[in-house]
């Protein structure tokens, strides 16, 4: 199957594939199926598709019941509503018993650029990471989304999948096997390492190019399993470099940056700089690039962060 550049579409197609492979897969949605693309599953498996109305809390707890009845439910909404509106249901009905429910948070981050603060999720990773037992996944493109979905049949316990609304360049190495819990090296470099998730992976690859032009060799890693984070691999990736930059389309508080710092805390490590949203809500913009630029989520910003950190670490008293 050729991967789809639109992550939502790639998600919907992958969900449909899972439906074909496993009769227990069921999908629930809350009047956004055309947007989340769960509608692709509905068209083929209408009897396994539950339109719950605009009622995310009820949808989440219903999924708990379906899981207890032996089904593998995938629930769908925008990331803000899937994680925020239904948080208590995710926590108590799904995570405490550790049920195998999959939560699709679509139009995540700032990718719903026009709708503004109420619809953009800057804190969903933090919320989901804080739930004991929740797996937190944030693919970098449509190809990785498809590979990730295949693993979600057997993966135990609850899982959150953060899906971007837009078309993203297909950069995940096609030949690379995908495993939940692994990080992927996309570029090697001995001066600095850029650790990124979601849309920021592509931008970090561009940043590495900018840095290379200035004679700085930067490695780039895609961290799509934000939790459980492969702490060993992160420590390995950081070994020997003089600067670490973590880049995410998310609040700097509690997201991938925090996860990386938690992983590194026990070992000596080079200084770490975080590129993310500075503890504020989103805004409406005319296009996705415009809003990403506005919040400093650019290749230039990642490259600048790396250079700042390298400068700092070459000074005698520099520390993280």
């Amino acid at each position: 199957m050729t991967p789809h550049p639109n992550m939502r579409e790639a998600y919907g197609l992958a969900l449909l594939e899972l439906g074909r492979k496993n009769r227990d897969v069921v999908a629930l949605e809350a009047d956004l199926g055309k947007s989340t693309r769960s509608v692709l599953f509905q068209e083929v498996f209408p009897e396994r598709y539950f339109q719950m109305g605009i009622a995310e809390q009820n949808m989440a707890a219903t999924a708990a019941g379906l899981a207890l009845a032996g089904k593998i439910p995938f629930i769908h909404s925008f990331a803000v509503f899937a994680t925020g509106r239904a948080y208590d249901q995710l926590r108590n009905s799904i995570c405490i018993p550790g049920l195998k429910v999959r939560i699709c948070g679509s139009s995540s981050g700032l990718s719903d650029f026009g709708d503004g603060k109420t619809h953009q999720s800057v804190e969903d990773i933090t919320l989901m990471r804080a739930l004991p037992g929740m797996t937190v996944l944030a693919p970098m493109d449509g190809l990785e989304t498809a590979k990730m979905m295949e693993r979600l049949i057997d993966w135990p316990g609850p899982a959150y999948v953060r899906i971007n609304r837009s078309d993203l360049p297909l950069l995940y190495p096609a030949s690379e096997p995908y495993h939940i819990g692994k990080i992927t090296c996309l570029r090697k470099g001995s001066d600095a390492v850029l650790l990124a998730t979601g849309v920021m992976v592509g931008r970090s690859l561009e940043a590495a190019q900018i840095l290379a032009e200035r004679g700085i060799a930067a490695g780039v890693y895609n961290i799509s399993t934000v939790k459980p984070l492969d702490a060993e691999a992160v420590i390995q990736a950081a070994a020997g470099v003089r600067a670490i930059v973590v880049a995410e389309e998310h609040n700097r508080i509690g997201g991938l940056g925090s996860a990386v710092l938690e992983a590194l805390r026990a070992t000596p490590h080079p200084p770490v700089e975080l590129v993310g949203i500075e503890d504020c809500f989103g805004l409406s913009a005319a296009c996705y690039d415009e809003i990403l630029n506005h919040f400093g989520l650019t290749a230039q910003a990642v490259a600048a962060a790396a250079m700042r950190t390298l400068d700092g670490s070459s000074r005698p008293k520099g520390h993280s």
Binding site: D31, L32, G33, K34, S35, V39, Q51, M52, G53, I54, A55, Q57, N58, V80, F81, G84, R85, G114, D115, G116, K117, T118, H119, L283, S284, A285, A286, E290, I291, H294
Partner: protein, 280 residues
């Protein structure tokens, strides 16, 4: 009873709001045309007749409050606030850009005249309930008006607020249900049917008035009745057409949130002009 001059004035205002709506959406810009247009008469009747609202003093603590629980339809509220002079007209073309102050959903910080943050569906009635309780405590004359969508009624929080408002006997709170029978993904009957809406509200302890939501006279009568009702909140269930005024968009879920082609834009303006001639 309302005089025909008032009715005519408000019909013309609803038309003007639809013109503003088309100006905001323009060509190629995604916007919630359908649900904005279905409540044009409701917005006109509230802002330009029923509400105690002085556009010269939009922060007057004794003003009535307009809360758009179905916050995605904020374009029609921007239109009304523009006609009142609270929002500068130049903002209309900059809607949903970093340069402008008009956000995709109601944003109190950035936009003059917006009374609450809504857009996550199902929350507006609770906010209105809180305001109404506060105004009653302070013995303020302010009334609170909340507009909800029919798809939105599936959010459980609405029914929590409905129970509470009745329990608190809030007669300074009036709600609208914009019964346009279409939600984001299709007709409510096919997507998520909620039968007997009027009886549900009545059973929750509300005064219920049903109107044709495009009939200004009926809306004004219902609002007058709500003002007179004592000891319980009123809900006005307004039967409307989603996309009203634009033949290609009427009852069409595609225009829940979509952009217009140049041809559709031209047609939209033509149809509004025809309506203007009718209202002469």
């Amino acid at each position: 009873m309302t005089d025909t001059a008032t009715v005519k004035k408000l019909e013309r205002m609803a038309l003007q709001l639809r013109f503003d709506l088309i100006e905001m959406i323009g060509v190629g810009k995604v916007g919630h045309l359908g649900g904005s247009s279905s409540m044009a008469e409701i917005a006109a009747c509230l802002y330009f007749h029923a509400m105690r609202y002085n556009p010269q003093n939009p922060k007057d603590p004794d003003r009535d409050r307009f809360l758009l629980s179905k916050g995605h339809c904020v374009l029609i509220q921007y239109a009304a606030l523009t006609e009142l002079g609270v929002i500068p007209r130049a903002e209309l073309k900059k809607v949903k850009t970093l340069e402008g102050c008009l956000q995709g959903h109601p944003d109190m910080d950035r936009t003059p005249g917006i009374e609450a943050v809504t857009g996550s569906l199902g929350m507006g009635l609770s906010i209105g309930l809180g305001m109404a309780l506060g105004f009653r405590l302070d013995r303020r004359p302010s009334r609170v008006y909340v507009v909800m969508g029919d798809g939105e009624l599936s959010e459980g929080q609405i029914w929590e607020a409905a129970m509470a408002a009745a329990a608190f006997k809030l007669d300074n709170l009036t709600a609208f249900v914009d019964l346009n029978r279409v939600q984001a993904t299709g007709p409510t009957r096919e997507i998520f049917d909620i039968p007997q809406i009027e009886r549900k509200w009545a059973a929750f302890g509300w005064e219920v008035v049903s109107v044709n939501g495009h009939d200004v006279g009926q809306i004004l009568q219902a609002l007058a009745k709500a003002k007179e009702t004592r000891g319980r909140p009123t809900v006005i269930v307004a039967e409307t057409v989603k996309g009203k005024g634009f033949s290609f968009a009427e009852n069409n879920a595609v225009f829940h949130n979509s952009s217009l082609t140049a041809e559709q834009h031209r047609q939209a303006l033509c149809e509004l002009e025809a309506r203007r001639a009718e209202l002469k």
